[in-house]
């Protein structure tokens, strides 16, 4: 690793806030040519914000920004691109209906003097580039027909070979299989040796330690550590990420929490060897009445797919769902609902009707139990009113359009839909995401109350705090497979992160 004396990219005292909330506070960061720089931190620690500043996505910030020793300000992603900075974002941004070659050359297809695309040349060059990356696909095949991991590799390849001197990769490995990760690392190392500066963000700390030369740790918008990868360990990094001492107002779950004895209630749900393409592999578990089962894992670990399968929105490739002793293959979400399964997805928009009044939102899932043919609006309003009071939804006006409620209150309405006639199994995805402490506590209390009423509850989250604050038993999902179960034993954020 030969480091140039001066960094190709240097940031000094960067501060950035969104609507009064500081996402970054006085961060210094330097990247050298021929270096792979790993970035770790919890969700919302500021990693992605910093990278978006570097890539010109957020032009407004305070602090000094130097490229090759020259103070610069990017006004757009285009400026950053012109300065040789390229970024692979967490979300896939490919054109699935175009060919592989077109995707590789997106925006700068080779043309002849008449402006006509030279397909043959494009296909040949795309094929050569991808082959260097160890990808052997027909450059003229439709990108969308390839597996997701391969699509992600092709997107990464496009950015890596765009000639950029600085490349930022945000969670590039979440959808990749182990051999694909290996190929990516080989390429990254080669580019590094050719003098490219690479920033690598990942939740997978092993990956960071394996590929990067330097690691920087973020916590609460601050840089809290920077060290050579060879000189640190996973445990030390996790400790730095989470932080010791009362920095956070909320319960930080850094200390061990002991999980109770497993519930001996009847098994409500049995999942047997569930598999779905690249998302889930042989997932088996049980959920019992009167317990909250937490399922923790990083973004893209298969949680979302699992929750959709439980609610009949996705069909698994293989495996069985047994609800209350009967094997089920849900033809629709309606079938899942009738079998006593309820889902609150992570996105409020996905399950609420913003242009309809609160009471219609509350009653929609139970209309068939309230009315046979004719609607009973008075009864609907009465039920909604009861729920609004129980859950302390503000403002307590059931005729108000849902869109006029704040986010936290909308989340409560999403829960309220299922509470009048409680299901047997309630699946909650990210039930407290984006909520303030008060609303979080409300949700925790609601869930505990439901548990006491004998429901089986599954909480899926990418935030360790959410799972730790709610669950009696915790499963860890990693790249589509269950890798660890915590039951009747001490658990903490460290232990969860360690397992994931």
């Amino acid at each position: 690793m030969q480091q140039a004396r001066s960094p190709i990219l240097e940031l000094q005292g960067i501060t950035k806030s969104f609507g009064g909330v500081e996402a970054l506070r006085g961060v210094d960061f330097a990247l050298y040519a021929g270096e792979i720089h790993g970035l770790v931190g919890e969700n919302g620690a500021g990693k992605s914000t910093l990278m978006k500043i570097i890539a010109g996505v957020h032009p407004e910030f305070s602090g000094r920004f130097l490229v090759n020793g020259q103070e610069t300000r990017f006004r757009s992603a285009r400026d950053a691109h012109a300065a040789g900075i390229a970024m692979v974002h967490q979300e896939l941004s490919v054109a699935p209906d175009l060919t592989v070659a077109e995707n590789v050359f997106l925006g700068n297809q080779p043309t002849n003097r008449l402006g006509i695309v030279q397909w043959r040349r494009m296909a040949r060059e795309a094929g050569e580039q991808l082959a260097r990356f160890g990808i052997n696909v027909d450059p003229m095949s439709r990108l969308g027909d390839l597996p997701i991991g391969l699509q992600q590799l092709i997107e990464i390849a496009r950015v890596l070979f765009s000639g950029a001197r600085i490349v930022i990769l945000d969670e590039p490995t979440s959808a990749l299989s182990p051999p694909e990760v290996e190929r990516l690392f080989t390429t990254l190392r080669r580019l590094r040796d050719e003098g490219t500066g690479i920033v690598f963000i990942s939740h997978f700390i092993e990956d960071i330690l394996r590929v990067s030369d330097t690691v920087t740790v973020f916590r609460n918008g601050r840089k809290v550590a920077e060290t050579a990868s060879a000189a640190t360990t996973k445990g030390a990094l996790i400790e730095a990420m989470i932080g010791r001492g009362g920095e956070v107002l909320e319960h930080s779950y850094t200390d061990d929490l002991s999980l109770p004895k497993p519930s001996d209630g009847p098994v409500v749900l049995k999942v047997d060897q569930l598999s779905l393409a690249r998302s889930l592999q042989d997932v088996s578990f049980e959920a019992r009445a009167g317990e909250v089962l937490g399922i923790y894992g990083f973004m893209g670990c298969g949680q979302q797919e699992l929750s959709r399968i439980l609610f009949g929105k996705l069909k698994p490739d293989s495996g069985a769902l047994i609800v209350d002793g009967a094997a089920k293959s849900f033809a629709s979400t309606a079938a899942a609902r009738r079998a006593g399964v309820a889902l609150v997805p992570e996105s409020r928009r996905a399950m609420l009707f913003h242009q309809e009044p609160v009471y219609k939102n509350v009653s929609i899932s139970i209309l068939d139990r309230i009315s046979a043919l004719l609607l009973k609006p008075a009864r609907e309003r009465e039920i909604a009113k009861h729920q609004v009071e129980q859950l302390q939804i503000r403002p307590p006006v059931v005729a108000l359009d849902l869109g006029m409620l704040s986010g936290g209150n909308q989340q409560k309405v999403a829960l309220a839909k299922w509470l009048t006639y409680p299901p047997k199994l309630l699946v909650l995805c990210e039930p407290t995401r984006g909520m303030d402490v008060g609303a979080k506590n409300d949700v925790i209390n609601i869930v505990r109350d439901l548990r006491a009423r004998g429901l089986a509850i599954i909480v899926l989250s990418t935030e360790p705090e959410t799972v730790l604050s709610l669950a009696d038993r915790i499963l860890v999902l990693k790249r589509g497979a269950l890798v660890r179960e915590f039951t009747n034993e001490p658990v903490s954020k460290d232990r969860l992160l360690e397992a994931a």
Partner: protein
């Protein structure tokens, strides 16, 4: 974050009459259009604003009205049915095909008792609607394409049944409802009124009607609420086909003949009536009330243009422009609504 969200909510709660009117624009604009057009023609022509002419207008919009009932359900679900006119046509032809024709009609038809003929014809349109429904929900063909294919299929069946000939006889019940009248009121107007009323009652007061609005308002949320979205979508496609079929049978009796391509103009007219009335093309907003206003806007426009001295070739252009204006309002109203309620 949370505090700014609450502030925003409070701000919206306090919104006044202006934003309220804006959110109601899709209902107000078509109504104003109707009043404006009526006043304009009333001043422009002495023969327009008469009771006789009102009867004419009502009769003229009846067939469109019957077809538009089902189409309203479809558009409320954010789908489209382009096969309505063809299905109306084939059902009208079928009911004639199953009726004994005069000897000079050169069609190899199958005469059956009137009730059976009507039943078979309704089964035919329901079946075609079911094919639409299965294509849309089970196979997953977008309704625009699926019903485009059905438009051809129904036209093809029509062609095979009449083979370029014209049939005249329909069962007596159909003939009465299509061209008879009671107490001076044409039966076809009464049938249209009853069907519109029934459609309104179903949409407003039944569980199924609520589901239609919810599926149209946010299909994903409907699915996550445990509604059987495919079943609901399939049902509205069948409803649409059956309404079209009834419109087709009565239309044939009303026109006095059953032949190929007889209903071609009804596709555009029905879609125009629903959309001009203010039912959202994006689903979830509007209803039969809007469709009725839309029917009258089109009816007054078509009828009124006949009463004023205007180049008959220009009429087509004017209708097109009015439809364009309605579409602009439709899209604009949606955007305003999203802005106020988002």
């Amino acid at each position: 974050m949370a505090s700014s969200e609450t502030a925003l909510a409070a701000d919206r709660k306090a919104r006044g009459i202006g934003p309220f009117l804006r959110s109601q624009m899709r209902n107000i604009a078509p109504f104003l259009t109707l009043i404006f057009l009526s006043l304009f023609f009333a001043f422009a022509s002495p023969s327009f604003a008469t009771l006789d002419n009102l009867g004419n207008i009502l009769t003229q919009v009846s067939v469109t009205g019957i077809i538009a009932v089902g189409l309203t359900f479809v558009i409320l679900c954010a789908e489209i049915d382009l096969s309505i006119a063809s299905i109306a046509n084939v059902t009208g032809i079928a009911v004639a095909y199953f009726t004994l024709q005069e000897s000079y009609v050169n069609i190899a038809n199958v005469p059956l008792p009137g009730a059976v003929a009507i039943l078979l014809s309704i089964l035919l349109c329901a079946l075609l609607g079911l094919v639409n429904a299965l294509g849309l929900t089970v196979i997953g063909i977008p309704s625009f394409i699926m019903t485009l294919a059905m438009m051809q299929i129904a036209a093809g069946i029509s062609a095979l049944l009449v083979r370029g000939q014209i049939a005249y006889k329909v069962p007596s019940l159909i003939s009465t409802l299509g061209s008879g009248s009671i107490g001076g009121i044409p039966w076809i107007v009464i049938v249209a009124a009853i069907m519109l009323l029934a459609g309104h009652l179903v949409l407003t007061y039944t569980r199924f009607g609520r589901y239609v609005y919810m599926v149209g308002g946010n299909r994903e949320a409907a699915e996550y609420s445990g509604l059987n979205v495919k079943l609901i979508l399939g049902t509205v496609m069948v409803i649409s086909a059956v309404c079209s079929g009834i419109g087709g049978m009565l239309g044939v009796a009303h026109f006095g003949s059953a032949q190929q391509n007889e209903f071609d103009t009804y596709l555009l007219d029905s879609i125009a009536a629903v959309v001009v009335g203010g039912t959202s093309l994006f689903g979830g907003r509007g209803g039969i009330g809007n469709t009725i206003v839309g029917l009258f806007v089109l009816g007054v426009l078509n009828n009124g243009l006949d009463h004023v001295n205007i180049d008959s070739f220009l009429k087509i252009l004017i209708r097109g422009l009015i439809l364009l204006a309605a579409l602009v309002i439709n899209v604009y109203a949606q955007r305003l609504r999203e802005k106020t309620a988002d």
